[in-house]
Symmetry: C2
Subunit: 242 residues, 2 copies
């Protein structure tokens, strides 16, 4: 439970989130893909095309054991059982059920707002490709938030066990939030993400590729990714076996 | 059938290929995932984990209509029928069956060799994540090659119908190959891809992210992507309805 390794992995996930969002904005907003009942998909008429694609993806991923990993939390319930055993060692977490920390419903709301902001308005009929890109971007953001929730929180409690376990016993959310917030770390993350995005797009031929305004992603980190991660950390701590 | 639009789309796919390959090299080679009979996946014991993941992915994609697009050719046969009708307009191609141009088996061989070269040796147990990244990178490369095969070839025959249709009637592969080869365009693509990859990795924190030697990707474009695309163009022309 080395905080440096955890922080390095979180940074690596920034690259992933950026590249998945860049993939998404190559297609227009295509609002119809988010409208329930408008998917044109036989057998799933009540849902949106994005919801259906995400469900299919999670049903597949579940069979491959994705949700055996704490940081991979599914949006859907009642997914199939894994058909393989995951090969990585079980992480050193102290919690009875990973799904006690599942922020996917809130992340979905944040993601849908983000998409409205970053995608070019309009409809290019590329519905299939758009929902594929949506699923990957959404999964990358969820992975980042849940990875932080589990592992940053566990590393923090391990480094200051007395204080944290006292606050956990008191269920003192506010004090826990103060204890785990480090404003200067947050500011550094936000600036780094903005810089990375600007750089990732610097050599892009804008005649053929849509780019994303780095300020929107900065805002998304500040107002969604970081607060949701901290909410997940609190959830982890309140559910941690002490 | 505007060659400028086709070329722009091919260039855009370069970014996609680069980002998917970068995703893959974040995991070690993990040779076991390519070994048939070693997947640990219940009910698919004869196959490799990569083969199984690709099959599941293609079964899902088929239901969403992916293979109604000419540039999306599946590696597996006997996939399920689409459950939705694709919303994009049918492209102006003159061919009775898109699968007359399907180079996925050859691309698979090239891809497996590429992976051996670009991934760090060893086994990090991240089998699930590695095959996911493999599937996306493989699909991106296949899309690029098939998109070029169909659309570049069709645009070329339209711009020089007399000469091409004569050579097609004669089944003169060699003359067709000479006619469609433009060495200076190929050189430009290769250099651009190398530059893009170098740039995409310039700001990366190499303590936490694995990078790819741009020369290997240059070589892969020169020895695999470009020749396979031209082979696909010839296939398209020989099967074109004239």
């Amino acid at each position: 439970m080395d905080l440096n390794i955890i922080v390095a992995h979180l940074e690596s996930l920034e690259e992933t989130i950026i590249s998945k969002l860049i993939d998404r904005v190559q297609f227009k907003l295509n609002p119809v893909i988010y409208q329930p009942g408008n998917s044109g998909f036989v057998g799933a008429e009540g849902k949106s095309l994005f919801e259906i694609r995400l469900l299919f993806q999670e049903e597949m991923d579940a069979q491959f054991g994705r949700y055996s990993q704490p940081e991979e939390r599914p949006f859907n319930k009642n997914l199939p059982e894994p058909k393989r055993r995951v090969s990585t060692a079980a992480p050193e977490l102290y919690i009875s059920d990973y799904n006690q920390i599942n922020l996917t419903a809130q992340i979905m709301k944040s993601y849908l707002n983000l998409v409205m902001e970053i995608c070019p308005d309009g409809d290019d009929k590329q519905y299939g490709s758009s929902v594929v890109a949506d699923v990957y971007a959404f999964q990358a953001i969820c992975e980042r938030i849940h990875f932080g929730s589990f592992f940053v929180a566990e590393s923090k409690i391990q480094s200051n066990f007395e204080t944290y376990s006292q606050l956990i016993k008191e269920k003192n959310k506010e004090a826990l939030m103060n204890l785990l917030t480090r404003k200067e770390v947050e500011d550094r993350i936000i600036l780094r993400v903005k810089e990375k995005l600007a750089y990732a797009q610097a050599k892009v031929n804008t005649a053929i590729r849509t780019t994303i305004n780095p300020d929107i992603i900065l805002q998304f980190y500040r107002d969604h990714i970081i607060p949701l991660t901290k909410e997940g950390e609190i959830l982890y701590l309140l559910n941690r076996i002490i």
